[in-house]
């Protein structure tokens, strides 16, 4: 979620107008998510937040691409967007690292938050390794509990 605009909020740097429609669209999508009722099944308790994680990831990726890949926005605007929390700067800082290029969310690499034995999340394991380690070549993993990621290793 972006920060709430107040009087003290700095005016957006030049170039913001160009990306504003897309950001508004992201905002709409996020609002829509809130309207959807969550499931009451215990097994689906986490799933409500998955969509939010996914959207945050998508928006951060959009801003990351704009600045680093397309080089379409200025440094100034990029910093402003990060400060106003349009993108998750922690997540972006991970994407710059080798092996984390496709990381889904920060929860999945924090060993303290991951449920099992303090390891990283299963979605970080390459698909090939999952297949290799399974007894009969069938992978039962579909989505991770933290953010509903179906696999975000760099080799996938």
């Amino acid at each position: 979620m972006p920060r709430i605009k107040t009087k003290r909020t700095k005016a957006a740097p030049e170039g913001f107008e160009q990306i504003k429609p897309t950001l508004t669209d992201f905002d709409h999508r996020l609002r829509k998510l809130q309207d959807n009722g969550a499931s009451r099944m215990a097994a689906k308790a986490n799933e409500g937040s998955w969509k939010v994680f996914q959207l945050t990831n998508e928006r951060s990726r959009y801003i990351y691409d704009l600045y680093f890949k397309r080089k379409a926005i200025s440094k100034e605007l990029y910093d402003w967007l990060l400060r106003e929390r349009y993108a998750d700067k922690m997540l972006i800082s991970k994407w710059k690292k080798r092996g984390y290029e496709k990381l889904c969310c920060l929860k999945c690499i924090q060993s303290s938050e991951s449920a099992t034995q303090g390891n990283t999340c299963i979605c970080r394991v390459p698909r090939a390794t999952l297949v290799k380690n399974s007894s009969d070549g069938v992978v039962t993993f579909t989505r991770c509990v933290h953010c509903g990621c179906a696999g975000c290793s760099s080799s996938d």
Binding site: Q18, P21, T22, R70, K71, A72, I73
Partner: protein, 448 residues
């Protein structure tokens, strides 16, 4: 259906093979005789052909020589010879007439052909066409001698050049004398030819096709005036009703193309801005050129290091504590923060610890010669430069030497186009006096 097709191969849980007959419901661990017999008489040529296709080098060009011999060039750059009837490849050419013919080819022609085959140019490559023309001309010559050849007479009189597909054991059609068959894969229904064309043509075509498709797809973006500052998931909604949207079936591929297009758009837009800025910058430079004798970024720091006493164990902080007054005098703190200072000093200390004065001079000269191209491009104010360079003697006062160095650096465009040189540590490995001397010598050589 042949007997052998009823046999299926399975594996037992412990990994051994066993055979099961689906008709008689009989199973055995031994290989049934029918399977062997059947594969011998009918299965033979199919697998070998497939093998030829998959393994080993692929034949690219084939040039007809004399007495039914062919020169075949493979895509790994090797060449071999083949007689039409036997179809086996041989490394040496046993036919004397053909050897004679090949020796008449211009030197280097064959090497060129092999190289072209290796680099994967198609049948259209000029080296191949040249060789064909050459050979046909030569064959025309030799054909005038009636003794050496009777068989090929019809072909050679019309200077026909023919290419056979490499794994065609025999070209069953009689050679038609008027027809110039440049690419046999296209006009023959021979089984082997089909394999070859299946081998080469679709690849080429598909490469071209995807190129065209991608272009067409990209043109959609402009047509529907998509926003290059937006995401693919949003923008794709605008164009997905168009039929051309589906020319590319993979959505990740589409997204990739979109990204590429966006990058291009973004680059085109600020280019104009950049150009303007550059103009402004250069204008500024010409304005205050007169009084802009500005030292390079690490000028004073390197000066301090060159004056300092460097022992094998000295660290940046030793240098700092040693030369505190100098640091203060040159106001190093105001231009460089402590971290960059330390980083630079430790890099420079490496050169001072390991290398002698002469070696450092060498390092510096090497750097200059490496960058000589960019330096020569960045040179300006050449009158002043010539004037300084022509003075062979260095001034005696240290201040004058420094002024001269700064002027030289200014003329070299160290604060403008050659700014990158300022960042280079190797540019600072000498003390000011030696540096001025070497630089002068270098520029003298360059101006000549």
């Amino acid at each position: 259906m042949a007997q052998r097709h009823f046999w299926k191969v399975y594996k037992t849980p412990d990994g051994e093979k066993y055979y099961y007959n689906i008709k008689t419901k009989q199973s055995t661990r031994e290989r049934p005789a029918e399977l062997d017999a059947a594969s011998k008489d009918e299965g033979e040529d199919v697998p070998t052909k497939n093998k030829l296709r998959k393994l080993g080098p692929r034949a690219v060009h084939s040039v007809k020589l004399l007495n039914d011999w062919f020169l075949v060039v493979f895509d790994d750059g090797s060449r071999r010879f083949k007689r039409q009837e036997s179809g086996d490849f041989q490394d040496e050419l046993p036919d004397e007439d053909s050897i004679h013919l090949m020796s008449k080819l211009p030197a280097g022609q064959l090497d060129q052909l092999c190289f072209a085959a290796k680099t994967g140019q198609g049948k259209e490559n000029p080296a191949y066409q040249e060789t064909l023309a050459e050979i046909s001309a030569l064959r025309g010559d030799t054909a005038k001698d009636p003794f050496t050849w009777k068989k090929e007479e019809e072909t050679s009189t019309t200077k026909n050049v023919e290419i056979v597909s490499f794994n065609g054991t025999s070209d069953s059609e009689p050679v038609s004398s008027n027809e110039i068959k440049l690419v046999s894969g296209y006009d023959s229904s021979d089984d082997d030819n089909e394999i070859q064309s299946a081998d080469e043509d679709p690849v080429l075509e598909s490469v071209q096709n995807t190129g065209i498709l991608e272009e067409e797809f990209t043109s959609l973006f402009v047509e529907y005036s998509l926003d290059p500052y937006s995401t693919w998931s949003l923008q794709s909604k605008k164009i997905q009703d168009d039929a051309r949207f589906y020319t590319i079936s993979n959505d990740t591929k589409r997204a990739e193309l979109f990204e590429k297009w966006c990058t291009r758009q973004a680059q085109e837009a600020p280019n104009i801005l950049d150009a303007n800025e550059e103009n402004e910058v250069s204008a500024e430079y010409s304005d205050d050129e007169a009084d802009s004798l500005e030292p390079t970024k690490y000028h004073y720091l390197s000066h301090i290091v060159s004056k300092a006493i460097v022992s094998p164990s000295s660290l940046p902080k030793d240098i700092r504590s040693q030369n505190k007054p100098l640091f203060k005098q040159f106001k190093i703190k105001s231009s460089l923060d402590k971290k960059t200072q330390d980083a630079f000093i430790s890099k420079l200390l490496f050169y001072y610890k390991r290398l002698s004065q002469d070696q450092r001079t060498e390092v510096f000269e090497k750097l200059l010669s490496e960058k000589s191209k960019t330096i020569s491009r960045g040179l300006r104010n050449s009158d002043k430069l010539k004037e300084i360079v022509s003075e062979s003697e260095l001034p005696t006062e240290s201040y004058a030497i420094e002024t001269q160095l700064l002027t030289l650096e200014h003329c070299m465009g160290l604060h403008g186009p050659n700014g990158s040189l300022q960042e280079e540590v190797r540019y600072y490995v000498l003390d000011i006096k030696t540096k001025t001397q070497v630089l002068k010598k270098f520029l003298e050589g360059m101006l000549k």
